[in-house]
């Protein structure tokens, strides 16, 4: 089913170079970046600081030209203009004209996006509600905190009801409540059938929000796909929680089953590779230990992330 969905964003072999100064060696910021985003999904573009996420988004927004490769959104080359009425963009740490109020800012962007005058007021009121800025709608942005600017940025990206939305670090500057609100908002966008690509380095957001991810480090894509697929590729293991484990039995399990022991007071947690789980359990029962639980260990996104980032080109 999923595989049949249209590809809304297609990026192929992007390269971006930056020359720090005349005569200095140029630095490759993007090195053959390729990935694609399917219709209706929340796609996480994940990587550590300086990996090239913002640069990739700038290429997609037509702000920066790649020296090689191609990028298409909804079938259009990113250098075109008109199709952008279907595209929303929240820049990283956004800044807006600070002499305008939130309402005026949204009206300005709606007008640039070609939203008819008759539809603007209603849509702007709805968005102000969505991003929780109704109370500050008429205050000048000069007086806004970073989190409030971020909310204006999100509203501005949605004001023309785009089909595809690009968010660069959407949670930055937000307090915990704000994060939850924005998370809900992003889920709501997906429920409406829109496609979302979000840049982030916050893994818990990826885990709770994203359908698929691409992991980028040092300008190269290290992994693309769903989180589950990735963890399946690694070695599976289970965590066995036991009570009343004798020292001898523990040593035996470490020796025979390559178990990793972690003490939790009275209780001990054993991490055992999938192939040794049966053997370990029978030895535990034979030694009279009480098995409290056996949980399949799912590689956390964090460990996926770390191994993807560290996985250097040999």
């Amino acid at each position: 089913m999923r595989e049949e969905r249209a590809q809304v964003v297609v990026v192929e072999g992007l390269e971006v170079e930056f020359r720090p100064g005349l005569g200095r060696r140029s630095k490759r910021i993007l090195d053959g970046v390729s990935f694609s985003v399917r219709e209706g999904e929340i796609f996480g573009f994940v990587g550590p600081n300086g990996a090239g996420k913002t640069t990739t988004l700038k290429v997609l927004m037509g702000l920066l030209r790649a020296s090689a490769g191609a990028a298409r959104i909804l079938g259009h080359d990113v250098g075109e203009t008109a199709f952008r009425r279907h595209v929303g963009f929240l820049p990283e740490n956004p800044y807006f004209h600070d002499y305008l109020s939130a309402r005026e800012t949204l009206d300005f962007y709606a007008r640039l996006s070609g939203v008819p005058v008759s539809e603007r007021p209603e849509r702007i009121e709805r968005l102000l509600d969505w991003v929780g800025l109704r109370h500050a709608a008429d205050a000048r942005l000069r007086t806004f905190s970073k989190g409030m600017q971020q909310r204006v940025g999100i509203a501005q990206a949605l004001v023309h009801e785009p089909k595809v939305i690009f968010l660069d670090e959407p949670m930055s500057g937000l307090d915990p409540l704000g994060r939850v609100e924005v998370r809900d908002l992003i889920l709501r966008l997906r429920a409406e059938g829109r496609t979302v690509l979000m840049n982030t380095h916050i893994l818990s957001d990826v885990e709770t929000l994203c359908d698929r991810v691409a992991i980028i480090a040092e300008g190269r894509i290290r992994y693309q796909g769903s989180v589950e697929d990735f963890s399946a590729a690694g070695e599976r293991a289970s965590d066995i929680l036991v009570a009343g484990l004798s020292v001898a039995c523990g040593a035996e399990l470490e020796e025979v089953c390559a178990a990793e022991l972690r003490g939790l007071g009275e209780r001990v947690e054993l991490r055992v590779a999938e192939k040794h789980v049966g053997d370990a359990l029978s030895r535990l029962l034979a030694a009279g230990a009480e098995v409290i639980s056996v949980t399949p260990h799912r590689a956390s996104l964090e460990s996926i992330f770390l191994s993807a980032v560290e996985q250097e080109v040999q």
Partner: protein
């Protein structure tokens, strides 16, 4: 239709930003002070006091106008890039050309508004001092407005690709040279060398010929100005502005926003 509305939206927003600029406010204040102080200067002199008053006033309008056009043209456009407000604007379905032309339009309207304010002050002071006020003064303001639009276009061109400091340097330089372009041609014409004569003639043609807009002497003496001269100057100014904006847009379209 859509593009025109986008250009107008940018222009209105630019006007809104520009009129609240503090430096612009300062320049306007000193310009008005100079226009008004002409009354004091003229009261000290016993001959032709009305002429001195108007000389000072007209010179103030033009020079402060140029300062405003250069400062504002560079400040407002480069700030848009520096503060990264362009990122969210250009991600909308608006072309870079429409954005830059909207900026130019908003800035030009702002500057024209200042010219109108200074012109009003000039007229009020002239009436108070009993100095003659005629169509030639209106023509002078029109010519200043045309020249300033050209200066804003030069500032737009340079800020479309370079740093504010360099843009200010180049714009001021081009304005100064543009005021001397006829002298340059005349010196060249007097030369024995055909090469010098030819190249100075070309320079005169290529550089903005700002003396086309100079009717300060006529205005000061209340001399008549031919309508054809004014029309020619306006046509020349319009054409030159169009050329500058064309180049500015071409350059801006290639700009990389890192």
């Amino acid at each position: 239709m859509r593009t025109l509305d986008q250009i107008w939206a940018i222009a209105q927003n630019t006007l809104r930003e520009a009129v609240r600029n503090k430096v612009l406010f300062g320049l306007l204040f000193f310009a008005l002070l100079m226009i008004v102080s002409g009354v004091i200067v003229s009261s000290l002199s016993y001959v032709e006091n009305a002429r001195i008053l108007q000389d000072v006033g007209l010179a103030a309008i033009r020079l402060f106008g140029v300062a405003m056009a250069i400062f504002l043209g560079i400040e407002v456009i480069s700030r848009e890039v520096e503060r990264r407000t362009v990122f969210s604007v250009l991600a909308k379905p608006i072309s870079r050309g429409a954005f830059l032309i909207g900026k130019f339009l908003g800035l030009t309207l702002t500057i024209w508004l200042q010219v109108a304010l200074m012109g009003l002050a000039f007229a009020a002071v002239s009436l108070l001092a009993g100095a003659p006020l005629g169509a030639v003064h209106a023509a002078f303001l029109l010519m200043v407005a045309a020249e300033l639009a050209l200066v804003v276009a030069i500032a737009t061109l340079f800020s479309s690709f370079t740093t504010p400091l360099l843009a200010a340097f180049f714009t001021t330089g081009l304005w100064l040279v543009g005021g001397l372009s006829r002298e340059l041609r005349d010196i060249g014409a007097a030369s024995d060398s055909a090469w010098v004569e030819g190249s100075t003639w070309w320079l005169h043609r290529l550089l903005p010929d700002l003396q086309s807009f100079d009717i300060a002497i006529e205005a000061a003496h209340g001399l008549p100005v031919e309508a054809s001269q004014l029309l020619w100057a306006l046509a020349y100014g319009t054409g030159y502005v169009a050329l500058l904006l064309f180049i500015a847009v071409a350059v801006f379209q290639r700009r990389q926003f890192r």
